[in-house]
Symmetry: C2
Subunit: 277 residues, 2 copies
């Protein structure tokens, strides 16, 4: 039972290339479709065919002609202005659906794109489906080991994230001294870490025992194809500035971007990064 031909729709940043390499290492050679004006990496090492946003008919024709069975949408997508889209015939036929997609938030837009693609018989998969090695696995990912107190704190954090899961708030929190001291909202993980750093600098948070940690996990039922929790070198720097001891990530469900560099940064900062739950 071999996997069907795989395509990667490549948006901004290095992540599409990283995922493509991991898929190749995993034994699945991907065909890349860089979005023109959006994709930024150099895809020369892979078979690829650039695509103009809006030319939905052309995209589906390419997928069909190559027999693509699965596609992943990877990389940062700036929300396009629909007035800038030059729709081809395949897109015009679906103009109603596209208009609806643009009326919702970013998630609704992506979910709409996924639905449109899947209606063509191509399964949309996530980065971790085709490159599971990019996720934090169970246990320490870097060289620094958490202590038992950190693992207990991680449990508290994961329990809080599960409790707020139905509210679609944030994907992370900070636990310090056995207590949740910060919950991520619309500000995002980096701003939350900055807040913890500020509170510590102001002497308003004193850690007893272990230094505390960032806990990150998707909401239960979250579509990881649309919204994949990710950490990177910036997260490590933020955790370090907040005086934390490390990061606890929902194993198999949080992507470690630019893995080698990110884990090297964690090692250098003396921070643990471990997968749990």
């Amino acid at each position: 039972m071999s996997a069907p031909p795989l395509a990667i729709l490549c948006c901004a940043g290095d992540q599409p290339l990283e995922v493509a390499k991991a898929a190749r290492a995993n034994g699945r050679e991907p065909f890349l479709i860089p979005v023109q004006g959006v994709a930024t990496a150099d895809f020369a090492a892979f078979a690829n065919e650039p695509w103009r946003l809006g030319a939905l008919g052309a995209l589906f024709a390419t997928l069909r002609s190559r027999g693509v069975g699965e596609i992943a949408l990877i990389g940062a997508m700036t929300r396009p202005d629909w007035r800038d889209l030059r729709l081809d015939w395949g897109a015009l036929k679906r103009a109603d659906d596209i208009a609806k997609m643009f009326n919702g938030g970013d998630d609704s837009l992506l979910r709409g794109v996924i639905a449109l693609i899947e209606r063509e018989g191509v399964k949309v998969v996530g980065a971790l489906d085709i490159a599971p090695a990019l996720a934090a696995a169970q246990g320490p990912a870097g060289r620094v080991q958490p202590v038992a107190e950190d693992e207990a704190a991680a449990k508290i954090g994961f329990a809080l994230l599960e409790a707020i899961s139905p509210f679609d708030v944030g994907q992370s929190c900070v636990v310090m001294g056995g207590r949740v001291v910060a919950v991520e909202g619309a500000e995002g993980t980096d701003a939350m870490l900055q807040r913890v750093a500020d509170l510590r600098a102001a002497g308003r948070l004193r850690a007893k025992g272990a230094a505390g940690l960032l806990v990150k996990a998707p909401k239960s039922g979250q579509d990881l194809r649309v919204d994949l929790p990710t950490i990177g070198a910036k997260t490590i720097a933020g955790a370090k500035a907040a005086g934390l001891g490390g990061l606890a990530l929902a194993s198999g469900k949080v992507l470690i971007a630019d893995r080698a560099a990110t884990l090297a940064a964690a090692d250098a900062a003396g921070l643990f990064v471990f997968g749990a739950r």
Copy 2:
């Protein structure tokens, strides 16, 4: 069945006086015990006897001689340095308990004080037990009325606060466009509102429909004698700066400090303040 003689141990700020007046209006004339060097208001309108922190024996003697059956601890207490306390004989007899109290956090200190007093047979009550009119009651407290969408948003906020209640995080959150966008942590309510104001200024939060609201409630099982959720003019200013439409407060469980001025400020800012749940 008339209520037993009532004392109020008065710490910093105007709240002790406000509570005393409300108790009087409620038909219970309180005897005030301003803490020397801590209490700041003018208590001349009430029978009172200043008390030196540390003279625990003297406090208990006063309570006994006046037949005090209930006491409320009101106002802001800066954590005293135990080395500055000149303990009297009554305190020295309880030195072990006092040392233990000082080893914990502020809550532990207050809980210790409450336990010590109750061991003397005097019941410790909260501000809202003796002055329930100071709390937000069910319905609008000011002149501005919430709309149905606000009440639905308040339900979401109260549900979130209940979900995080076991984690001892914060007492408030901000709901906007049907979604929780900020959860209070160690930073406190004012800093959370500032964060929402910043996110809006940066264009990262766009409210659809109603402007959104601050939702505030104690944790379930929270000892309101130790930690009473409170809003005031500063909260109103913060909510206004965050572009919110108003405040939803757990009815009967959140104190509106300096009530007349706070509600006048809300009216002037066009913000509703309503009690619900």
